[in-house]
Amino acid sequence: MANKELTVDKSLLKEALAAALAKGGDFADIFVENKRTTSVSLEDARIERVQSGVDNGAGVRAIQGGTTAYAYTNDLSREGLVAAAETVAQAARGGRGQRSIDLGNLTPHLEFKVERRPDEVDVAEKTGAVQAADRAARAVDRERIRQVMVGYGDVIQEVVIANSDGVYVEDERIRTRVVVQVVAAQGALMQTGLETSGGAAGFELLSLEKPAEMADKAARRAVSMLEAGPAPAGRMPVVMAGEAGGTMIHEACGHGLEADLVLKGLSVYGEKMGAEVASPAITVIDDATLPGRYGSYRFDDEGTPAEPVVLIEKGRLKDFLFDHFSAQKQRRRSNGHGRRESYQHKPITRMANTYIDRGDMDPDKIIRETGHGLLVRKMGGGQVNTTTGDFMFEVAEGYLIKDGQRGPLVRGATLTGNGPDVLKQVTMVGNDLGFGTGTCGKDGQGVPVGDAQPTMAIREMVVGGVTGASGSPRIRRL
């Protein structure tokens, strides 16, 4: 690892784990983190903020029966770590207790190649890319584009994870992200266009997805939205383009497949293992091992190696996403979905890159055969109630489908539906696959996720109309 800043003595980790289990406790782990961030933001055609920082800390957890005790500290000295461990020991009494811990050393089974480490890229290059995006957006329409906001951010996160089962992992995660938001106005009407990119990647992300091209796209959308008519309201057939991103699958089904929610009885999918929960055309996979995707990682935040997980296969429910705690409850092993926002949070079950696998139909043919309805070309944020399966998400770019052709742009559509119900109504699945990125919020923790789907036709969904498009890129659980 280049520019390594985090070093923790293994014997100190052993001491802290032993202290956490000193009064009992079945399991203990420690997560030590050094996170360095840089961000650049532009507004009003000026570089307004250049910010950077370092956040160092450690979280210690002890589990005794069904109880989790958690403590964290910014103090990575021996005293700091042991004090945090003693705090959790007080709350985790009884059980198996202290034992000798032998820490191994897991080496990564995957290589994520970072071409250009962000800490080796000059800040002038970062501000330059942001300014280029501003210029590209404004060039689209000098008059009607009123504001352009461009944000760039990179994160280098070094982690050391160790637990009382002997797991020891050192890893470095590098993520880069760009957000462009354009505001266009005409009279009293204001519309926005938003484009985001992000990856478990370095600065090379900006040559794969050029900020200036994203800005051009966002600006064109904002301007054309000014002239778009209102979206229709009511029930109608819906085609979701592959390029629309995967917010729908994330909301409509992903959250309901998280084992912590399932085990609490909070998921509509809870009792349905092996049952048909979607159309036979639907296979859903969560794969944290995809190179470069925003939700990718080599190890989850409990040190479990990442692996692809087939959740729904040809319409049948096959598996859930597990972290250590929910896996223990089910007497099985974790499949690498224990994640946390930072050392200040205990790990919970989370998605990584969730997608519906591609089918074999030509996307244009899907639109032709649908005949009429709504075509969703870009999705915005969404939300789900996992207990009922009800979800909603916004349509950032939607068109009417008329006579089997893409018709006029409409603004302000949102889609509401019920996860299991909608997935059963998928009639056609395309041979394309388009990814989206976002920050998923659950229990107050935000983690980076990716999602994707091919072009799909859905027999009928409720379209809520008459509003504008594309707010924030967040994805949030209720």
């Binding site: 920082g53 160092n56 910014n74 505001v183 204001m190 909070l266 944020g381 207990t387």
Partner: protein
């Protein structure tokens, strides 16, 4: 940590600011307790502390910022070097400045030492009692997703190269319950929350009971036909919409051409019953403080008075740009961010009518009690389209529960369309709202 120790750290880092440049340092220390119980047992017990420092440097009219959790000599040297380097990469702006010292607001009760004095075991009992209260309220409560007690104490110190030095400490207490009620194969969720500056004021049992009532009340909910109806929004939902309005009332949004209120001071922007206030000095307000996060005294700002726009919320920078004075609304998410313009205690002033009186004359209407996807609403255009859950109103009374419908519109039209404001003002965190009645809205259903 003693207040003097915190100020000493700030003085140490301000000493590292280059000659000719100005600096401002902000230090925050937090201690947090989080207790989550389920089925009569502690599921998660979290006790933790953190601290960090954020440094702003203005050099040659350029602003740079950096933060660190490392308060050692090396850590402070690094944060100072980064802040200077970041300033060099930013555009110059003649309005960049730090506030001059001014006396803080006196007499606020912000620190209840119960945060330290009351033993954890007693707080666990409170969370357990809250869960029991939810179960006992109605036998159809089937799952407690979480029953949570939280408290937090915060020390803040801020100082700048001018002679500003401010420090204070505060504590706050919160409880919430999320649960599921089930009957006849249907499951519905319910949520309730209370937050307080005083341990003894926290209404834990009532939170449990309210969450239960909210879930049970929705059992058997179905969508309705697409139609137009008069809509009532309960305090939770009204508060959600106020969260959408608040950013547009900041000087920041006005400056950046993303406020629907820009250029409309003195004009009617809401119905006559609407008075919107931000008050950082509010007695009992969970966001009250003697100074904001730049060290400027907080204040009470009437933003919209009987529907007329009075002005905006400002921090030092937006006030300088727009030619006013800071309203004490320089707020930071944490030491990791710069002070932007944000709300303190932001609320819609209550009316005099009982919530029931707002529906008594309605042959038909819809009371919204929960929305799905409020965060997807667009704070710039004001457009929203959210999934809505609630109860039909028929002949002046609450009738059957409804779910799976969408309501859509623009938040400016919503403000202008408020027909009545009830007296049941309630704060959810820093945002307070009563029940309101809005003229006819479009409901998308079947």
């Amino acid at each position: 940590m003693k207040e003097e120790d915190n100020l000493l750290i700030l003085a140490g880092v301000l000493d590292l600011v280059e000659a000719g440049a100005q600096g401002e340092a902000y230090l925050q220390r937090r201690r947090r307790l989080n207790i989550e119980v389920r089925e009569g047992r502690v599921e998660t017990l979290q006790q933790a502390g953190d601290h960090g420092l954020g440094l702003r440097v203005i050099n040659d009219f350029r602003l740079g910022f950096a933060y660190t959790t490392d308060l050692s000599r090396e850590g402070l040297a690094r944060v100072a070097a980064q802040a200077h380097a970041n300033a060099a990469a930013a555009a110059p702006d003649e309005y960049r400045r730090f506030p001059a010292p001014a006396p803080p607001v006196e007499g606020l009760f912000l620190y209840d030492d119960a945060v330290r004095q009351v033993p954890v075991a007693e707080k666990i009992d409170l969370a357990l009692a809250m869960e029991r209260a939810a179960r006992e309220e109605d036998g159809r409560v089937s799952i407690i997703e979480s029953s949570v007690y939280q408290d937090e104490e915060v020390e803040v110190a801020v100082a700048n190269s001018g002679d500003l030095r401010q420090t204070y400490r505060s504590a706050n207490f919160a409880a919430y319950v999320a649960l599921v009620a089930s009957a006849d194969g249907d499951s519905q969720t319910g949520f309730a929350l209370d937050q307080s500056l005083k341990y003894g004021d926290l209404k834990t049992r009532e939170v449990g009971r309210e969450a239960a009532r909210r879930a049970v009340g929705q059992l058997g909910a179905r969508p309705v036909q697409t139609r137009e109806m008069v809509v009532l929004l309960d305090p939770y939902v009204t508060g959600g919409f106020l969260g959408l309005v608040a950013p547009a009332l900041t000087g920041e949004a006005v400056l950046k051409g993303r406020s629907l209120f820009a250029g409309r001071v003195g004009r009617q922007v809401a119905a006559e019953h609407v008075t919107l206030v931000d008050d950082g000095t509010l007695t009992g307000g969970v966001s009250s403080a003697p100074v904001d996060d730049e060290g400027v005294p907080t204040s009470r700002t009437v933003l919209v008075e009987h529907g007329r726009l009075n002005g905006y919320m400002h921090n030092t920078y937006t006030a300088a740009r727009l030619g006013g004075t800071s309203t004490g609304n320089g707020t930071r998410g944490s030491f990791k961010s710069t002070p932007e313009t944000g709300v303190t205690n932001f609320y819609l002033e209550p009316g005099t009518a009982d919530p029931a009186a707002l529906m008594s004359d309605l042959a038909e209407g819809f009371l919204v009690t929960e929305v799905l996807g409020m965060h997807t609403a667009n704070p710039i255009s004001g457009d929203f389209s959210v999934g809505a859950t609630g109860r039909l109103i028929r002949n002046g009374r609450l009738a059957e529960p409804v779910r799976g419908v969408a309501i859509a519109g623009n938040v400016m039209d919503l403000l202008l369309g408020i027909e009545a404001v009830a007296n049941d003002l309630r704060f959810i965190g820093g945002i307070g709202a009563p029940t309101v009645r809005v003229k006819r809205m479009h409901l998308s259903g079947h």
